[in-house]
Symmetry: C2
Subunit: 213 residues, 2 copies
DNA sequence: AAAGCTTTGATAATTATTTGACAACTTATT
DNA sequence: AATAAGTTGTCAAATAATTATCAAAGCTTT
């Protein structure tokens, strides 16, 4: 409907707002001003107001923002008002960790299946799920209305698996493989490159040592 | 020494350059131009040259960049020429997954210890490591010259643990807890908020459904 | 119900980041 | 040895993101 383009910077901040507002709600806080929230989150009040205004503005002059309302509205923006059905490709350490990370389910992210190519793992239980063979990915996606695929396998197989699930109509991939996936327009990939993250930390650590000491 | 401030945007791109250059090196590619690299990485050649120039420029006019040299130089920038010693706080699913993710060791990130507060876990083997009780964190950090602490526990305990390790002189924290850590100046925190990442994916998925369909 | 206080939403100014253009230099070719 | 082709590093221009400012509007108090 309103196809206004929201900048990536703003989208990237939404989950953090959501987190803080959730905490405030749990603490029983009813209203908050951009000023108060800015002190809590260590950002400028101007940025907060600017961000929310991208979506039409959720506040009221002279009052501020109603915490619960704002929390719900941002939740809707983030697509948390509807359930998402996920499968995990790769039952290694990371795949297992994600499966058991029950936190996601509370937000409507439901893990429906887990797949691996290692015959020794197939049939094993991981949390509530049973590891299935890779051949069944396509049929499972169609049968269970999967809308998000989590890739948690080494980079060698990742690109091929991504192609397969994209061919099944998957439009969203959460990629933990240490490689970039080349997907067609209309498919979103959210990368979690753990090594990259660790290197960034290492960069800052090294630089600081050189300049301060 | 040269305390020129590098923009966060540039730093954030360094690991990706490093990854691509490593792949090129492994393929036996000797030299590459910013033009070729830009096509590979789907960024502008101008950005690549601009980025490298922040550090003095690694190329040669008329020739391009020597892949191996550039790879090594970026590695040095990222602090990968020296070993880092890490401990993991939290031997849950995520802590275990990280411990066994041997990839990091190849880059000089050495996991030296893992801690948990659950008595049932203490003494258990995880990969090469044995789970230790939380009380021993401080002494272990000092005895083993730990320079990076990985926080992989629920958010309730995360802030307190961060305070403890900061008091031990730790300057770098890799934080997987679903909360922001409030650390003093001079301490770097690199956050990996998995839920945030998943929500971003969900945002784009929802938005696309609304606008395209 | 009026007056003063608060706070948003919107606009403008500032700052940061990305892209484009080209001189200077290197390599390759004739 | 001279010329042509290729490529960086740098500067300038354009775009994007953040911050500051303030009028307009809603609350709160008397």
């Amino acid at each position: 409907m309103d196809s206004k383009i929201i900048s990536p910077a703003v989208i990237g901040r939404l989950p953090r707002y959501y987190r803080y507002l959730g905490d405030l709600k749990d603490e029983g806080v009813e209203r908050i001003s951009s000023q108060e929230l800015s002190e809590l989150m260590k950002v400028t009040a101007s940025q907060i107001r600017q961000d929310f205004n991208n979506f039409g503005g959720f506040g009221q002059q002279g009052y501020g923002y109603n915490v619960e309302y704002l929390y719900n509205e941002i939740g809707k923006l983030l697509g948390l008002h509807e359930n998402h059905h996920l499968i995990i490709i790769g039952a290694g350490n990371l795949g297992r960790a994600l499966t058991n990370y029950s936190n996601f389910e509370n937000r409507g992210f439901i893990f429906e299946g887990i797949f691996d190519q290692n015959p020794a793992l197939i049939g094993k239980k991981i949390g509530e799920l049973t590891v299935m063979p890779m051949e069944e990915i396509e049929s499972f996606i169609l049968a269970h209305s999967i809308d998000i695929v989590v890739i948690a396998i080494p980079k060698t197989g990742a690109v091929a698996v991504a192609d397969r699930v994209v061919n099944c109509g998957i439009k969203a991939i959460w990629n933990f493989a240490h490689t970039d996936l080349n997907v067609p327009d209309g498919v979103v990939v959210e990368n979690v490159h753990l090594s990259d993250s660790l290197m960034k930390l290492s960069y800052t650590l090294s630089t600081k040592n050189n300049s301060v000491d």
